[in-house]
């Protein structure tokens, strides 16, 4: 049987980390020595059997609390981590055995902007673009137009990144990712910690890209409103597992209806996980 080629296919992927265990009580001297010789490890199931398919033109949202495994999943897709088991395909290519091909068509924006802080945005962007075989003049032109659309004044591109606010740095990070015209765009909490204005700018820009409908976009967030506004489909992740997924409408139907107000994604999330999402950021 022919299976259709999705933009992104993830099958039963797991990633476990080992971490040295924190002692439950204050250690005695010989216990400390014993731990140095043979450290006690605990296993963290950061991603624990996740499968998903995303089609071209879709924004797939992954909603989860801190430490639920969102970034680990994104790193597995972006070839920065090797899965313990399971497979990931990007436009039919395996991310492990065909990583070079996958890297060409993919880019990522992470929570923290990650730049050479003393270099200017222009220098950082030109460096990043060169790695994808894009010339500096082309990179400059493209970056300018992306940054303008994000509400970033192009004349500030020559300032050291250190001098820019977090919101502005994040806009440069988005420009870095889009500069390479990725077919798969991974957005790992792109708006977390931004001021309301930058947040709106970034969200509006993501909507713009979505309207072009020619890329696969995965967006992680712990902002319910953002997920409702931007995503075609949403998965809720908890302890490395998807506990629900579907369109926003389908998810809303999962929680018991309320009498006075309409159900929100937040209600569904609390109903399914028994947890509140991080306060203050939604």
């Amino acid at each position: 049987m022919e299976t259709p080629i999705y933009g992104l296919t993830v099958r039963d992927v797991t990633k476990h980390f080992k971490r040295s265990k924190k002692p439950e009580h204050k250690l005695r001297f010989f216990e400390k020595i014993k731990r140095i010789l043979k450290p006690e490890k605990e296993i963290i199931r950061a991603v624990d059997g996740i499968s998903l398919d995303v089609n071209i033109g879709e924004i797939y949202g992954i909603l989860g609390a801190n430490g639920s495994g969102k970034s680990t999943l994104i790193r597995l897709i972006s070839t920065l981590l090797l899965p313990d088991s399971g497979t990931i395909h990007v436009f039919g290519d395996d991310v492990v055995s065909n990583s070079m091909k996958v890297r060409r068509v993919m880019n990522r924006v992470s929570v923290e902007a990650s730049f050479f802080k003393r270099l200017s945005s222009a220098e950082n962007l030109i460096y990043a673009a060169r790695l994808y075989g894009i010339s500096s003049s082309e990179a400059h032109k493209k970056a300018e137009s992306i940054l303008e659309r994000l509400g970033f004044e192009a004349k500030r591109m020559d300032e050291e990144m250190e001098a820019l606010s977090r919101g502005m740095q994040q806009k440069v990070a988005i420009a870095r990712a889009l500069l390479t015209t990725p077919m798969l765009l991974l957005l790992d909490e792109p708006t977390t910690g931004l001021d309301p204005k930058s947040k709106r700018d970034v969200q509006a820009f993501i909507e713009e890209i979505r309207n072009d409908r020619n890329a696969v976009i995965v967006l992680t967030t712990h902002d319910m409103v953002e997920a409702e506004r931007l995503c075609d489909r949403v998965a809720i992740i908890d302890n490395g597992k998807f506990i629900a997924d579907g369109t926003v409408k389908e998810l809303l139907a999962m929680a018991p209806p309320k009498e006075k107000t309409t159900t929100t994604l937040e209600d569904v999330f609390i109903y399914l996980t028994g947890k509140e999402l991080e306060e203050g950021d939604a």
């Binding site: 990633k15 980390f17 080992k18 970034s71 680990t72 790193r75 972006s78 070839t79 920065l80 981590l81 090797l82 070079m100 091909k101 890297r103 060409r104 993919m106 880019n107 990522r108 992470s110 929570v111 923290e112 990650s114 730049f115 050479f116 802080k117 003393r118 270099l119 220098e123 030109i126 460096y127 990043a128 060169r130 790695l131 994808y132 075989g133 050291e160 870095r176 790992d188 909490e189």
Partner: protein, 268 residues
């Protein structure tokens, strides 16, 4: 297929980036440069008034060449440390480039930078030592060839040293430092290796720095011709040809290990 032209252009990204960083940190650069001068001076002055001008030059060459080789060994490792602190390493590793392209770019910068800095210090030395430094009988050609050939070995060692910061940005630089001091001890930088204890001497013979220093001193002090150094240079070439692929291979293993256990990320 490896497209050489494309890869060369891409590796230029690393050279350009490093020179940009160097420009931004120019005040630090001046500080390091002054340190190199002070270091060569202190070591050279040990012999002034105690030995011949040849003896002074013997030590100054030791200081300068050690400085150059240290840059070869440290630059790649330092670039990785830097990228780990900034968090850009994830973006560099996500890019569609061969690791060889990446590392060749970094190594090339190391050579350019090392030559530039060491050359400047060397040019300044006569100002301080006057007649104590006599470069009149130096064979610059032999020296130049030796520097080029020995760069290969030290690039190889540099690639190996770069795995330390890849696995741990906190402890990595210290580990590179330890490797360096061992080489400093065994390679006869400031003394003849025959003064080392017997059990250490075999190690001297596998250190490429031993042969580098030998040929450079012969060139600078005794006007040695390239033919007279052929044996030494051939040995250096062989060590280089072995160490470079070995360095790439070790780096590749370390990268895979880092991706398996999750060592690349800093936060988020």
């Amino acid at each position: 297929m490896l497209n050489i032209r494309r890869e060369t252009i891409i590796s230029y990204a690393f050279i350009e980036r490093n020179f940009n960083l160097l420009k931004r940190y120019l005040n630090w650069e001046i500080l390091f440069f002054s340190y190199s001068i002070v270091n060569a001076l202190t070591i050279g002055l040990i012999m002034v008034g105690r030995g011949s001008s040849q003896d002074v030059l013997y030590l100054v060459i030791g200081a300068l060449i050690w400085g150059f080789l240290s840059i070869m060994m440290r630059e790649v490792s330092d670039a990785i440390t830097w990228e780990r602190w900034e968090g850009t390493i994830e973006y560099t590793f996500m890019a569609p480039i061969y690791r060889i392209t990446h590392l060749v770019g970094s190594c090339f910068f190391a050579i350019l930078y090392g030559l530039l800095r060491t050359g400047l210090v060397l040019a300044i030395m006569p100002l301080f030592f006057g007649e104590h430094i006599d470069l009149g009988s130096a064979n610059w050609f032999t020296m130049g060839v030796t520097v080029c050939v020995s760069s290969l070995s030290f690039i190889g060692i540099g690639l190996m040293a770069a795995i330390f910061p890849l696995l741990s940005p906190e402890k990595g630089q210290a580990a590179t430092g330890i490797l360096q001091s061992v080489l400093l001890l065994i390679s006869g930088i400031y003394y003849d290796i025959t003064v080392l204890p017997d059990w250490l001497q075999p190690l001297s013979h596998i250190s490429p720095a031993t042969y580098t220093l030998r040929s450079i001193r012969a060139a600078m002090l005794e006007n040695a011709s390239i033919e007279s150094q052929a044996g030494n240079l051939l040995l250096l070439l062989v060590i280089g040809i072995v160490l470079i692929p070995f360095g790439f291979w070790i780096f590749h293993l370390a990268e895979n290990y880092a991706k398996r256990v999750g060592r690349l990320k800093r936060s988020g």
